[in-house]
Symmetry: D2
Subunit: 345 residues, 4 copies
């Protein structure tokens, strides 16, 4: 049993369907810079998936996909509003500010990793002078960094909020598939039908090697985005290796299958964790993450036993992640080991 | 016969050895962000390859690798000197200026795509006032964009020139392996022993899917380069897929084997092209590119017959590229077709 | 009586001594871009003032002076720690992020507008991974935005804190003279002797038309700052008009005289305000600002009567500023009017 | 006689009319950040001057005015076309690239410092792929850096050229008044009637202390330019000192009077220079600059005699500038001294 398996969903490898598609795409020569059939197919598959004529680009990773999307929605003297736990704020080393040449990120709170609408309104309205950056974009994360999922109703409210304040709406969808699997509705419902202008759609955490999609539902916003990607070092020459996995995973429903599996594993893992005295759930388990509060001694004992998981939020708080690669047997076995460990303390 | 085969070396796929290494690396979980064994192995393999304790980073593509390396060597009010045909000038859409927040690229000429040392000196010396960006970096390309290769003597002269003017020396090595195969000397001779401070070492054009190495021979220059990569969207979460191909290709000598093959194919292709009346060589064939001048009618006839190759430099000028994937039989067959076409005009 | 007189210290004009110096400097031709005698004199006068061989530059305004100073202390993937009420955060429209190409500003709280040392330590220590910008600079404001002044002991503690965390120490001294007048010690005590690396020394709010000084006490940090200013549009061609006012105000002690006068007026104004029932002081009056809490009806009545002052912090909070131009008679007269107004409510 | 008087027009001081206006404006308190009556008056005066409802902003200097104007017309992946002698290219230390976060400046030649239209067309048309920045702006200088002036016909042709290629047209008018004085037509003819979208209108070289106007004839392009100025450190708090000189100089026709005087002095100076054997004119004298070729021995003798003038273009080339402050007597006296010097060689 690999004791890294709960550390992060990006510890997982490439799933068979993505791999197979890359292998097929590897045959012979292919036009470069996205002028190949795999990129065309992947874009079409995403348009089908979202049931709309959206504009699709591929960037190498989530940091770049988010930052370029956000930079395309604003100028340096604007600001972007997001949750204070948002990945673009906490884990991208100032990439948003860098790609946009100085756009300020304004933080709002909100339960369960979801933005508090009143806080957004306050942030938009408290200043209207030129001495402070003008809010221009609202960025939300679906599923959130805390493993929760905005409901359709919540999303629609967010969409209306953005519209009301004339903010463009960006969705960081590093784990969009997990949210989709949870809600069980068409992808359109979670995105353009709810007012999302641009989605960064993550593939890596769900079984691809590299390559996130940037999906513009408002196509006018995509103008010259190809130039932006190129200048920012995000145009792959051998694009087929970014695109083919999307084809492989969309054609066969693997995207949702993988996400559903990860979500299911997270629920199973939560059960195992909650089986232990003193362990409590910090957030609802609605995607592939489990956040628990556990005795600090147990955290230490798990770490001592070689288990790798993040405790970044504070003392006794622990995050466990599942992925397409998680195995139910492993989770059950971990549960057994955990109980034993806890009992021995 | 694929009529795209001479369009660019980035039209080629992933070579078997790189693929095999990725496949092995795909097994199970792996630490993310470069904290995995494949990245460690790849860095070690590169240190062995260069016979020195260099600092190694992986970026997704050449544009980013070049731009980040250059940005790390200067501030926005500095300037970078390069050949007017350099890729960083002609084909990266202002990426150098973007990543460095405004560093000016100053152009010098020079035969065969190699910088003219006197022009460099003139460029450094003609201004010393604060109204013009201060030259700080000299960037050369090896092999050059014109398919030629700086000799060891030429490189050493460039190294001394840079040192004399207190310029850092950057080498764009998108086709470094091709130069190495041509010169038949250890990689150290072409780099740090000649005064190169930082090399961007290309893998993609030589058989990898994605991922170029940035190699700092002066390790003090690498300080916080990891932060720079992260902020600029160039830190892969599943780094193993960028690193493993390097391991696969360095362990077995494939890197040089691929490059030598491409170079050999280019020579063969040049012979075929020169077999035709009115076709003349524009530059020496020292790497994997063949630049010829041919009758405009022949260019048109080839294009009409479906052959894809670039004619960007001007009327009648044509570039043909070979790669690890080129096949000698295909080249001979192309030669036959070409002669027939030329005869029919 | 001008009802704008308490709105801001930048509503005041140019004081006679600054004006006179400009007038003298206006005679005949002068070398441009700072190569003139007035700039030399102003730099020397500042070196005398600080009793050390500091490096001095002049920028047009405070936003630029702060931003350029901060940008020179860090790289885009670093971060700057400051108070959440700091001008660089609240009133410069993302200038710090813009000039530094994305450096993140991290906020800490603290009473009376002064940073809480424990919060600084927490901010430095809570993250040490490359996914979050590395703290590199501590920026404090003296006098603070709330009209308070760091004591010498407090400053020394801040200096040690910065040193302990290997942070460069920047001081926003838009109202540095006011702090100096309050503390009554040599300027050296408030700056380099307390560990300040760079000071942006404001002249505008204290009686000059335009032009703030950037003073590097650690001269190694000033390397190429002239290029930085030039590229950023902050090198005045007719520098004499920025420099001469400094000469005029330093030669004759006007700088401190003006500041002391403004401070004294603020105390007098505070007395007038506190004379009224329901008005309470929000912060100590240690410089030229008076922050009070007053009945919202009184705020409205004053505004209705044409008085201009800021209430930006929240309901019933009001800021009144004094300057070199404030007149004690006017303040007393305002006090009388205020009492009458309050009584009538 | 001041031997610096021909070095540059920015060696001159503030002219009486500008000074007087500042002095009047210095009376009492005034709203800050441009919300004062002097700024309102200056904007109105400029609208009258251009006979159109243009949008006007004031920046501190020409580098910033040009850079902000250009940045507002493009994105980082665009390019700006200008003459290879343009100030934005040769003397602003990469400011354009800095303020625009990487926009490339593409150079074209052309006689007498005026762009060659065919070269512009070639530059626009030679590339249309995403690997090279997309041309978006044409920037011309009027009067040019070589002291020549585009005629109305030439300007209209440039305007049509820009329109044809869908380029925005920017005019660097650091010496716009000199061109205006030469051509003797309304300012409208040289600007919006000829297709100019944005003008940076210089005041400093023509007798002001600091402060250039940015004039948007296409008002839609001025959207949020106030935020841009603020963020970039170009919003003066005591704006009255930038605005009042414009009022003073526009109200009384001083702007044109000063420029006409400088132009006349340049013609007189040219006569004196050409009086000497071996001295020849390099460019037509159409504004306030005189470019001559003179024996290197004469250059050296003049320098040895203490005369300050620039010889930056190459051996024996010398530039002499006149300004509002030049005195005809001084020029004649210089002529006499020059003849004597030349005779003695």
């Amino acid at each position: 049993m690999d004791k890294n398996m709960f550390a992060s969903d990006n510890y997982s490898g490439v799933c068979p369907e993505a791999w197979q598609a890359m292998m097929v795409a590897n045959d012979g020569y292919a036009n470069s810079y996205g002028d190949d059939i795999w990129t065309a197919k992947a874009c079409d598959a995403l348009r089908d998936f979202f049931e709309t004529d959206c504009q699709v680009f591929f960037a190498f990773n989530g940091t770049a996909a988010n930052s370029l999307a956000l930079a395309s929605l604003c100028r340096s003297y604007h600001s972007i509003i997001c949750h204070d736990m948002a990945h673009v704020e906490t884990d991208e080393c100032g990439a948003v500010e860098f790609f946009s040449n100085g756009t300020k990120v304004l933080l709002v709170g909100g339960d369960e990793g979801k933005i508090d609408p009143a806080a957004v309104t306050h942030t938009v309205e408290r200043r209207s002078d030129i001495h402070y950056p003008k809010p221009k974009v609202l960025s939300i994360t679906q599923a959130t960094e805390l493993g929760t999922v905005y409901s359709i109703d919540e999303l629609q409210a967010v969409g209306e909020l953005a519209k009301h304040h004339q903010l463009k709406l960006h969705m960081d969808g590093a784990r969009f598939s997990n949210a989709l699997a949870t809600l069980g509705v068409p992808a359109a419902e979670l995105t353009w039908k709810a007012g999302v202008d641009v989605l960064t759609f993550g593939g890596t955490k769900n079984g691809m090697p590299v390559g996130e999609a940037v999906v513009f539902f408002d196509k006018s916003l995509a103008e010259e985005f190809d130039y932006r990607c190129k200048q920012a070092g995000q145009l792959a020459s051998k694009m087929r290796y970014l695109a083919a996995p999307w084809v492989g995973m969309l054609e066969q429903g693997t995207l949702l299958k993988n996400a559903a599996h990860a979500n299911k594993c997270a629920k199973l893992l939560a059960e195992q964790l909650l089986n232990v005295d003193g362990v409590t759930l910090m957030h609802q388990v609605q995607a592939n993450a489990v956040f628990v509060q556990m005795p600090e001694t147990l955290v230490e004992a798990l770490h001592a036993a070689g288990w790798h998981f993040y405790t970044f939020i504070g003392s006794g708080h622990a995050r466990f992640m599942c992925s397409w690669q998680s195995k139910e047997d492993d989770i059950l076995q971990f549960g057994t080991e955990l109980k034993k460990l806890a009992a021995s303390l």
